[in-house]
Symmetry: C2
Subunit: 331 residues, 2 copies
DNA sequence: TTGTATGCGTTATCAG
DNA sequence: CTGATAACGCATACAA
């Protein structure tokens, strides 16, 4: 049968209150008593019941993670790994929710009370607002937000490196640039921001709109996108620079350029965003890229959120995870 | 303040027992009463407290997922997505544990009582055994196991397509074959099985050991692996076939072969394993591959596990997810 | 069909 | 420093 705190107390010859104190490290317990209790615990193989603890303490030591499908697999796994590590280090678990699922079920899950102590998310939807207003512990990881002090925000300068990448190509003499991004699921927000970045870039640098081509495609229908790319690079008015979002598709872009009879970086300069330091090192020429530390973003986000869950507002609810520019040979 | 079942009962003019019946769809409630209760629930915005439900019913509607780090990002995300969908469809949540973390922390999580109703895992470690012996609901997804009926097993014929891939290359006239696999973290078990597959293949086909070269590398130190690959394909005694585990690295392999002045499939035949139907369609020549339906594996695994959690043994605790051979142009 | 009362395993507040 | 005991919110026998 199930071993409860009563069994431990009986075996140790003490009360459940004292056992509880030992379990939670509250102190105020004789070393001798503590020893007896720890003995009993290990002898009986006692493990506290999470539901009972949750009910009594209104803290379930779990944070919810909402990952959107519009991020790359590389970003996804890295972010997840970082968040998981941070949570586990602090005795917290991670409850996963994907927005691949319907928003309704998502809302139901996150609002089921006391299933999580706080929520970490990477995309904003209508169901977040009520939680925000209610002061429920929240942490958004992605771009920078005009965020309340009660909540946390981890950002990685997405807009920053995007603009920087385009500027880089420009500074290397490119006259016509492609902004190429592959996404897993549709996210209007992403498109909108990309367009914003591009427009801003055009205006700032006094370019004409035709000088920057934006191609966004779902991974599930990538044929079309690559077809368009091939067409573009085969035309007489072909681009001479390309910014690839997510370096894992860079090899394919290289292959495609090669098929068009173009060489990197002489004919076309390539720059990408990556999520692992080594990504793209094996291409020839090696890929010049902006490294987004997704792992660290996940880690920091979980840390901040747990700080809020545990002790009110952290010293700083904002966390910037810098990206690195790694110059190799493709620009 | 928190809305409880008492508030609902009071507002509906009925008892908490009746409210509970409605919530859990137990039946035996007048349509009129039910209507009143549903009214009260929505008016008050009542949501049951998961901890209290868990404590009273000893079912927390959550399954634990243990993903090992030695799988590719593509496999990882697909599997996760499938499992998540299946769980959510059935009102279950997913609690994530990565074994990127230390085994100790993993053990701590799974041994916390009543945090999960069952565990779904993709790698076997020492901490699983006690759970297995205790009859705790378990589901292993990966290869086929000599599994107890109380537990579930979803397998995808990993050994099958690996052997098949090698045989395919052989049947296309290859005399020397490379078995190339990139992994995220070290997994002795994987290496061992790969070696087994290879040895078996060599014996079965009466080959000499030098005819099959096994290269396994961590993604974090892929330079070495690619260096070795380049060396191999530059030698006079170069291979004429390669099996690439995880198609996302196929473009890089193509690039590497191209650098060595070799063409696919004339000089070298390439076959890979993939996790998304479209993977590799854009290479030239398009990639011939074995499609492992990771998403379906995750889905089926979660379904089986939940069946066990909910209703004892399912009709069939074994589930085979077939892989597809997709012939394109690289062999 | 509905209500009452008890138990689930903790935490936390008081007295002692 | 320790021990009763009252919550915590819900499910469920048992009564009515």
């Amino acid at each position: 049968m199930k071993v409860t705190i009563y069994d431990v107390a009986r075996k140790a010859g003490l009360s459940i209150a004292t056992v509880s104190r030992v379990i939670n490290g509250k102190g105020g317990v004789t070393p001798k008593s503590e020893r007896k209790i720890r003995d009993a615990i290990s002898k009986l193989g006692y493990l506290p019941d999470a539901s009972a603890q949750g009910l009594a303490s209104s803290l379930v030591n779990t944070i919810g993670l909402v990952l959107q499908g519009s991020v790359s697999a590389a970003y996804y796994t890295q972010f997840l790994d970082g968040a998981e590590r941070a949570a586990r280090e602090r005795g917290f678990d991670l409850l996963l929710t994907s927005t691949y699922a319907s928003p309704e079920s998502f809302a139901k899950t996150i609002r089921t009370r006391h299933k999580v102590d706080g929520i970490l998310f990477t995309s904003i939807n209508e169901y977040i607002k009520p939680l925000y207003d209610a002061g429920f512990p929240l942490c958004y990881a992605g771009r920078r937000l005009p965020w309340d002090e009660r909540h946390a925000n981890v950002y990685g300068g997405f807009g920053g490196y995007r603009k920087e990448a385009l500027s880089l190509l420009l500074s290397r003499g490119c006259k016509k640039i492609v902004y190429f991004e592959m996404i897993q699921t549709i996210a209007k927000e992403t498109s909108r921001r990309n367009n914003e970045v591009i427009e801003d870039f055009i205006v700032t640098n006094g370019l004409s709109p035709e000088q920057v081509v934006y191609i966004e495609a779902l991974t599930s229908r990538c044929d079309h996108a690559y077809g368009r790319l091939r067409e573009l690079f085969s035309s007489p008015d072909r681009p001479d620079g390309i910014f690839v979002v997510e370096g894992t598709i860079a090899p394919t872009v290289y292959a495609l350029l090669s098929q068009c009879g173009l060489t990197v970086p002489d004919d076309v300069k390539v720059v990408a965003s990556i999520h692992e330091p080594d990504s793209g090192t094996l291409l020839r020429p090696a890929l010049t890229a902006y490294l987004v530390n997704a792992n660290k973003m996940g880690y920091n986000a979980a840390v901040k959120l747990i700080q809020i869950v545990q002790g009110g507002t952290p010293d700083d609810n904002l966390s910037y995870v810098p990206y690195d520019y790694i110059e190799r040979g493709s620009v």
